[in-house]
């Protein structure tokens, strides 16, 4: 199996896991603004499908990369401002999200490398 394929499917796995964690968090843990967690989780699961289908990768992959960074920074600044979202589930979610950012960077680099373009 090609490296780019492995990276892409590992990203799909991470996206799906984060989506499920966000859904769980919104359902039973978030305390407030839980609807936002549902939306974020649904978007993650949707993007897992998009990345899995390799639909418009030159747009979709950077978009997912940016989305993951955006949510990570959003969480960090909100947590600093309110003290909310500082718990084990959120930490696990964000650790996986950080892993996803690295994974997506490798996916983008791999899919845009000359060997895969030729």
């Amino acid at each position: 199996m090609k490296e780019s394929t492995i990276l892409r499917w590992s990203a799909v796995g991470l996206l799906f896991v984060i989506g499920l964690i966000n859904m769980y968090y919104g359902n039973s843990y978030a305390g407030f603004f839980q609807n936002l967690w549902y939306v974020m989780g649904a978007i993650y699961i949707f993007t897992a499908a998009v990345i899995a289908s390799n639909f418009e990768p030159r747009f979709a992959q950077p978009a997912v990369f940016g989305y993951a960074i955006f949510l990570f920074v959003l969480w960090a600044t909100t947590a600093l401002g309110t003290g909310a979202g500082l718990d084990t589930v959120a930490y696990a979610d964000k650790a996986i999200e950080a892993l996803l950012v690295v994974n997506m960077a490798l996916v983008i680099r791999s899919s845009r490398s000359p060997s895969t373009l030729s």
Binding site: S28, Y29, G66, F70, F72, G81, A84, L117
Partner: protein, 168 residues
């Protein structure tokens, strides 16, 4: 510059630009959200809970005269709840504190009238704690589920019952 180098640089530039835009946007939105919800954020809410005896003869009326004071605790979903439960009986009568599912709590029982006394027992993720006379139990949990949930003393039913109201 070779074509390969150009491609690598383009990828790096793409990642940099997307990353910077995402960080700036995330920080801007996060700061705004943090500012907007600062006063609605979950917080720690402390309550002092006591047993109380109503002035009637429980043998005549056929029900216990024991009740909780207060018998309503209201918090927001997500709040950390700390209950300082004191058994203030003037007889050697035990009481316990039980919560209905799905709630569990941690409890530290102190062998005296406040939290400065030595710890008599510690319970984790339990649904019930016994408090002897002149003891204090510090009960902590997070109000993760919205709704109305019963807390009660199993020894003095049905009168010694209260309700935790969690606003969703």
């Amino acid at each position: 510059m070779t074509q390969s180098t150009t491609k690598q640089w383009s990828t790096g530039k793409l990642l940099l630009v997307v990353g910077v835009v995402a960080i700036v946007a995330g920080a801007a939105v996060g700061t705004s959200v943090g500012y907007a919800v600062r006063y609605a954020a979950p917080t720690t809410r402390s309550f002092y809970l006591f047993n109380n005896s109503l002035p009637f003869d429980q043998n005549v009326w056929g029900i216990p005269h024991d009740v909780f004071s207060p018998d309503r605790i209201t918090v927001n979903k997500g709040d950390k709840v700390v209950i300082y439960y004191r058994n203030i009986e003037d007889t050697t009568e035990d009481h316990n504190f039980v919560m209905d599912s799905p709630y569990t709590f941690d409890a530290v029982v102190h062998a005296g009238q406040n939290e400065t006394f030595p710890i008599a027992s510690t319970l984790k993720s339990t649904t019930a704690v016994v408090v002897h006379v002149n003891q204090t139990a510090t009960i902590t949990f997070t109000a993760s589920w919205a709704g109305v949930f019963r807390y009660y003393c199993a020894y003095h039913q049905p009168t010694m019952t209260g309700y935790l109201v969690v606003l969703g």
